[in-house]
């Protein structure tokens, strides 16, 4: 965990889709070397918040501050140029390409010397760097020339995360990185997240799995109905407190909306239903 200035801060950010207020006056920040978990019920606005940071949805109002400077994030390219890398739930890997090809997709290196005349790719350099990158992240993939489609779910997730690091980002956004993974593979991915933190990246993790959240996060940011429901220090809070904040049982600011825990199914019709995995 680290103190000091946040690398990314959102101030009073709002976003609506037609009549539906997906985010309302949300303040959010992440510091270098810190893992912030973003939790909330379906439709709480987690995905909208991440998409706002990643530049997929431009915000309606509020301010985004990156490394102390006001920043404008209107497109995914804006986010990438600032140094924000996003790993979506669907990973966006090409199954027909191998690990090296996927890692360097869109940022292929060209060979120098005679090979430059024919604009050849520098496969040797890319493969060597792939080995180095995966080694520093302690990711074990036997053959970096095997097709990504043949890898396990955990390995695919690790490849996707490793790829996001090639641009040397300041902030890494991970959307449900452990969903649908087995126990051992989840442990591998959580280890990788710790390593990102050690390397000084600011990490934002969306997760539904509170066990994973408590294992890896420094702070837990709870969204509820598009508003900040609370921010908790992972060492000082409890499972019950977080669940309470997610469901609204312990949140005074939305007390009028908060029916008893577990009786909330009716109110979801008024929310934006976030599918979260479409982009």
């Amino acid at each position: 965990m680290s103190d000091g200035a946040p690398v990314l801060a959102l101030e009073k950010v709002s976003k609506s889709f037609g009549p539906v207020q997906a985010l309302q006056d949300v303040d959010f920040e992440v510091r270098p070397g810190e893992v912030v978990a973003l939790v909330g019920d379906n439709g709480a606005g987690k995905s909208t918040l991440v998409k706002a940071i990643a530049g997929i949805h431009a915000i309606d109002s509020g301010r985004i501050v990156f490394e102390g400077q006001p920043a404008r994030i209107a497109t995914p390219t804006d986010a990438v140029h600032l140094g924000i890398a996003t790993v979506y739930q669907d990973l966006a890997l090409c199954d027909n390409l191998d690990v090296v090809e996927n890692l360097f997709l869109g940022r292929e290196e060209r060979a120098g010397g005679i090979a430059a005349i024919t604009r050849q790719l520098d496969e040797t350099s890319m493969e060597r760097q792939s080995h180095e990158l995966l080694n520093t992240l302690a990711v074990t993939i036997v053959d970096v020339r095997s097709e990504v489609g043949t890898l396990s779910g955990g390995q695919r997730q690790q490849v996707a995360i490793a790829r996001s690091l090639l641009g040397d980002p300041k902030v890494v956004l991970l959307d449900e990185p452990t969903a649908a993974l087995g126990v051992r593979q989840t442990a591998q991915v959580l280890n990788l997240i710790r390593r990102l933190k050690e390397q000084g990246h600011g990490v934002v993790v969306i997760s539904h799995n509170l066990a994973d959240v408590f294992e890896v996060a420094d702070r837990i940011f709870v969204l509820r109905l598009g508003r900040k429901s609370g921010v908790y220090d992972a060492k000082e809070t409890t499972h019950e407190e977080i669940v309470g904040a997610i469901t609204g049982a312990s949140d005074p600011s939305t007390g009028d909306l908060g029916p008893p825990v577990g009786a909330e199914s009716g109110e979801q019709s008024t929310e934006v239903r976030q599918t979260g995995d479409q982009r």
Binding site: V39, N96, G262
Partner: protein, 406 residues
């Protein structure tokens, strides 16, 4: 409450590839060994025809075979690129006919220099392909429909360009020479040996670079064996061709385009991006690849190659007429690469399959002609081979989906 741990237990199970019992034969059938499979199929076809008619493997007939497959094979080179994107171009036959007609009209009726006429025809092809690509990407209409419309429209344009006479005979030596020029004796050997040396040098330098960087490389023996087999195949081909009229210029043009596009697709950024778009267009887009531009360029290349194929077909026929590029031309140009292992689902295959597929289809056609079969039988056999090939493709795809991800 949603915030409960919801870990799905990992299903342990050996992957197909890990099991030594996944027999060589099954992998062979299901397409893991793509190119080897085609070569074996080709050998079987040749053996069958040779056993029925011993003129089949004669130097003269094999030279004829090379000349017969050139036009369709060149069109197939462009088709492969479109298939790699996961798209299809149904207009290549019509475009080849139209562009051949453009060349014939310009050179015969308007007296243009043959080189200019050929260049103009290829430029028309490129423009048509760009048009297809722009329509496809701008409106998001399936390429199937865009190029189906193209098939009809360009066929009409071909009739329009040819005018009332309907047939234009080609007499210009440059145009007819494309398919009637042969390099005898030493020229063929020189080309072969230079080709082999360049290929060996590139392969070995690449191997040394990788080995020095500490990357995994195949053993030098394996590399040597592969080079040796390729060299022997090339030398045998030249020996056979020299035994007849020599190495045909048409074959050199065809093989040249295959080599160039094989290089582009496997060694350059553009080629890598073609595979990426065919594998997962959304992933490619997010990786910052200009997906639409790749698509437009590939459609432009496909139509340009169709134009080149059409010119070669016209040169061999010594004429362009209303049925140039019509009939089974389009279907065979698509069937060839698919038979040889390029997937219709995109992202898998290689430009090589244009050559291998054209050889398979051309051999069936040529052999059945020698044995004096009706074209009815020829079509049915070719259809059966194509069906078998796409079934293999679908099986390989299903198996990847079933076992690819644990």
């Amino acid at each position: 409450m949603t915030a409960q741990p919801s870990t799905v237990p990992e299903v342990p199970g050996p992957r197909e590839e890990d099991r030594p019992s996944a027999s060589f034969f099954r992998r062979f059938i299901e397409g893991d060994l793509g190119e080897l499979r085609v070569i074996v199929v080709l050998a079987v076809i040749w053996a069958i025809f040779q056993s029925q008619e011993d003129r089949f493997l004669s130097a003269t007939n094999l030279t004829n075979l090379m000349l017969q497959i050139t036009a369709i094979g060149l069109v197939s080179v462009g088709v492969v690129l479109v298939l790699l994107l996961g798209e299809i171009d149904l207009s290549v036959g019509a475009v080849s006919g139209l562009c051949a007609a453009v060349m014939a009209v310009l050179s015969v009726r308007h007296g243009w220099s043959p080189y200019l006429a050929i260049a103009a025809a290829i430029a028309v092809g490129a423009a048509i392909g760009t048009f297809h690509g722009v329509i496809f990407t701008t409106f998001g209409i399936p390429s199937f429909v865009v190029t189906l419309a193209g098939l009809l429209a360009w066929q009409g344009a071909q009739l329009e360009v040819l005018g009332t006479t309907g047939t234009i005979n080609l007499t210009d030596p440059v145009v007819t020479g494309l398919t009637s020029t042969f390099y005898e004796g030493a020229t063929g050997w020189t080309i072969a040996i230079v080709g082999i040396l360049v290929y060996a040098a590139v392969t070995l330098l690449d191997w040394r670079r990788k080995a020095r960087a500490g990357l995994r490389v195949p053993s030098l023996g394996v590399v040597g064996l592969r080079l040796g087999l390729a060299a022997v195949a090339i030398l045998i081909a030249v020996a056979v061709l020299n035994d007849d009229r020599g190495v045909p210029l048409a074959a050199l043009i065809f093989v040249g385009f295959v080599v160039v596009f094989q290089f582009i697709t496997t060694k350059t950024t553009f080629g890598r991006h073609i595979y990426a778009v065919g594998g997962n267009a959304e992933a490619a887009r997010r990786a910052g690849i200009k997906v639409q531009r790749i698509r437009i360029v590939v459609f432009a290349i496909a139509s340009s190659m169709a134009a080149i194929g059409g010119i070669m077909a016209a040169s061999r026929l010594l004429a362009v007429n209303q049925s140039s590029g019509a009939g089974d031309f389009l279907l065979l140009a698509i069937a060839g690469p698919v038979i040889a292992g390029t997937s219709l689902f995109g992202g898998r295959g290689s430009v090589w399959t244009a050559l291998l597929g054209a050889l398979v289809i051309g051999s069936i056609s040529n052999g059945m002609d020698l044995l004096a079969y009706e074209s009815s039988v020829k079509f049915m056999v070719t259809g059966a081979v194509l069906l078998a090939a796409v079934i293999v493709d679908a099986l390989a795809r299903r198996r990847r989906q079933a076992t690819g991800r644990v």
